[in-house]
Amino acid sequence: MSGERVSLTIDGRAVQVPPGTLVLDAARQAGVEIPVFCSHDQLDPVAVCRICLVEVEGSRKLVPACSERVREGMVVRTDTPQVAEARKSVLEFLLINHPLDCPVCDKGGECDLQDLTYQYGPALSRLADAKMRKPKAVDLGPFIVLDEERCILCRRCTRFDHQVAQERTLVVGQRAHEALITTAEGVPYASVFSGNTIELCPVGALTSKFYRFRARPWDLVRVDEICHGCPVGCHIQLHFRANVEGARLERVVSRPFEPIDDGWLCDRGRFNYGFVQSPERIAQPLVRPLGAPRGTLVPTSWEEAFRRVVGRLQEVLATQGPQGVGFIGGGRLTNEEAYLLQRLARQVVGTENVDHRVAGEAAASLDVAPGRITDLDRAAVILVVGAHPGQSAPVVDLRIRRAAARQGALLLTLGPVDPELRVPHQFLPAAPGHLADRLEALAQSLAGGGEGVPPRVAQELHEREGLLVALWDGREAAAGRALAAFLQTWQAQGREARLLVVGDQANSRGAEAAGLRPDLLPGYRLAADPEARRQAGLAPEPAAPGLSTQAMLEHAVAGRLGFLYLVGANLVETFPDRALATAALESEAFVVVQDLFLTETARLADVVLPAAPFTARAGHLTNLEGRVQATGPRSTDPAAGLPVEAWTDGQIFEHLGEALQGRPLVAGAGELATALAAAGLGSGTFAGALPVALLHEASDGSPTPSGSGEGLVAAPLPTIHGGGGTSRFDRAYGERRPLAAVVYLNPEDAQRWGVVPGDRVGLEAGDGVVEAEVQVTRRVMAGVLGVPRGVPGLAWNRLTGAGRVRVRGRLLEEVG
């Protein structure tokens, strides 16, 4: 198959292409350009716009190059008068009712209709009658405004929604000259992938609410970047507009990279950028005045802030030793910054208390059957364990949808709450804390046994040949071990298996690989291994074994950890036990918080250091498949007009290192790059993965509610538009995607607790009462309460901390 070639000529140039190639692509290969509107590499051809008409010898009519497949000996011409006339006519038709408002159109300057009319179209219109008028600002969804007059009905947007997103919300309505892009009545186009249609639209019909009327394409400065929204690591481009105050970030667009994103972005990655220039960013260092209660913070200078941090750190070292100091750095750090932070902790301070896990996850990778995102394309079976890919790895979810809907992959989901996948799949309910049991049963069913596995699933798993790709959310250590065993059983049967772990934050995997875990040095070398320690320049024996995030918090509460340093970690919001996180922050420990915003956590700190956003730094991120990708280069924080004095996280670490030990933390950029390469984090390579043996219960921060009795077990759900940091401080974005305090119940439980959908209820847990609205859905298994994470006003981690949750009836005062 691969060797087969079809020969044809296009404008007299001979080309050889694989059978089935479109004439359009063959022409591209021959260096002949054919104009298109409706055609797009990632969408099935429809041939509705006719701008690509070409002459094919032997064919009576012109044929669309975008849907015609090559044939042996085919003779194609694109340079004849007929073709030129056809292009001109198509453009004249498209322009009949077109408003020609290029001067005020966002797309002007990067519009296919403008460009092709200039190149091939008639100079003047022959239309004598008035143009048809249509609505020019239709509110299509949270982020998109439709100008019906500009739409040329190429159907790229609707095809994307049907073929790629598999959602079928956006359709063509009406007929002929009245045809328009629309949705069902009362249904907004609220897909989490909606923004892609803006880029797909060849004209200015679909415009971004954030970018509308903000810039002209030729004024934009473009910077290549990696999205920091989640661990998928999509390739993006940042568009800045310079003005007297500096550069303003005006929009984020895709930078197609097929191995990861196929050119698609989710709406979080595309629209959640306003935080970079939010006036709510912390403008200068803050300190809690001596003797003032927690929550009191006053501005200070960097010198004073550093003096306090260093002074207190030295005091604690003198009284409690290095074990009294802990560093917790969220996964928003680059690989380099994560490395520097653990080096600051281990080499300079001498403590092993470092961790990146701020949300109760056990691992960000696992060294069984390491997979790549593209493995999903050839999967025969996809098994989603605990993860909600549509929320926490959205662009990967597009591949899952495609594999299931268009390639016939068997899609299984396992966990307490069935993720919203938009495509047919089989849900295998498994209670929180018991995912391992289900996975063990599944493994046994491969060998013919296995109780509790639906016979149809067991049979399918038995029969399916080929690749199985598992996605795991990295929670519940036991589930990780059981999943590893399941994958090994699958492999033992001569079938291929791959695993992707969806980390909690954009660079969880990089932080893990860089050694931001108490039990691991950079490069997945054991912190307890004397040889590895010697090579890292550490004492052969740690003074004390390192503490995990949870243990550090417990030690702070117990008065044994007097200094806690948090970087980009809003623990009050993200840690599964809010009571513990809050108690630790309110303890006697000296708390330093390094962040962009005054988060719930930062408010309780002793010193707050303002960190610069990702746009201000260069480095590398490691995505969920382990791919090490460069971000940057860049040197400025585009805080146009903001009186912000922020340092990048890395600069702060280096400054602290130098202040503490009197010499730089690393000798220079060269040494840093070497250290990272030695840790398996060389630019452009793939990182290693966590040994299964390191999946300890102790590192598993998600407590399993004990005791039976009445009550529901809370299962936290990731939310794409929610979060502990950037999204909650991005006003414009938050307004477009308001997050309701909603919890999810199974119909049986709703009946048992006497609630109906829409009720506001009080949820009683060990730690007080949380109010929320109830939604009833079969996606949640019986006995479980689905609680979204990262929703302002819904303290999900009060419910997951301890014990079972009781639904304390309807709050009747809400009814009136």
């Binding site: 959602e167 079928r168 919300t169 956006l170 359709v171 063509v172 309505g173 009406q174 007929r175 629309t182 949705t183 069902a184 009545e185 009362g186 249904v187 119909p747 709703a750 109906v756 959908p757 939604q775 009833v776 859905t777």
Partner: protein, 181 residues
């Protein structure tokens, strides 16, 4: 989600619906017959009808909306008991359809697309040929043709329609709600 209250025609005409769906190898092929059935039941297609049809054939409400809006014989607004569709294509216009349009609007006191306050008549004008040019000018009454129309014939037609509706309403003296208004 909690099970929604089923739309009445879905329950009442369950067997007919099943038969329609089973007529085709794919469920979605039954979308048009089902829309006609739903429209027959209510007189027009309410949002819940669109949703119900979507659910029956495994499409999204958006997809069904797209189909409904494509066909001029499917209506999303309540209609009068009778819809008068006046052809305004060239042959009919040459035979006097424009004057007829004027007359009808005045007589009924409504514009095209509107329904008389008593819910009896909806006026439509179409620029697509009704495919009965030999009888130009043509008025379509629901699905039937009235040909070679003149203002006088239109008046008689209107009277006949009014009389027919009163008769239909008379026997049990109930309000005539066929128009759905």
């Amino acid at each position: 989600m909690m099970e929604k209250q089923a739309v009445s025609w879905v329950v009442e005409r369950h067997e007919e619906i099943e038969a329609l769906i089973n007529r085709y190898p794919e469920r979605r092929s039954a979308v048009l017959p089902l829309l006609h059935l739903a429209q027959e039941a209510r007189g027009y297609l309410a949002t819940e009808d669109v949703e119900a049809v979507a659910e029956l054939v495994g499409m999204t409400p958006s997809e069904v909306t797209g189909i409904v809006s494509f066909y001029s014989l499917l209506h999303r607004q309540p209609r009068g008991r009778y819809t008068l569709t006046l052809c305004q294509n060239l042959p009919c216009v040459l035979a006097g359809a424009e004057a007829l349009a004027q007359h009808l609007r005045q007589r009924l006191g409504i514009a095209p697309g509107e329904t008389t306050p008593d819910g009896l008549l909806t006026l439509e004008e179409t620029h697509e040929c009704l495919a009965a040019c030999d009888g130009a000018p043509v008025v379509q009454v629901n699905l039937e043709y009235a040909t070679h129309m003149t203002p006088e014939k239109v008046d008689r037609l209107l009277e006949a329609l009014r009389a027919a509706s009163q008769e239909a309403a008379a026997p049990d003296g109930e309000e005539d709600d066929a128009g759905g208004l």
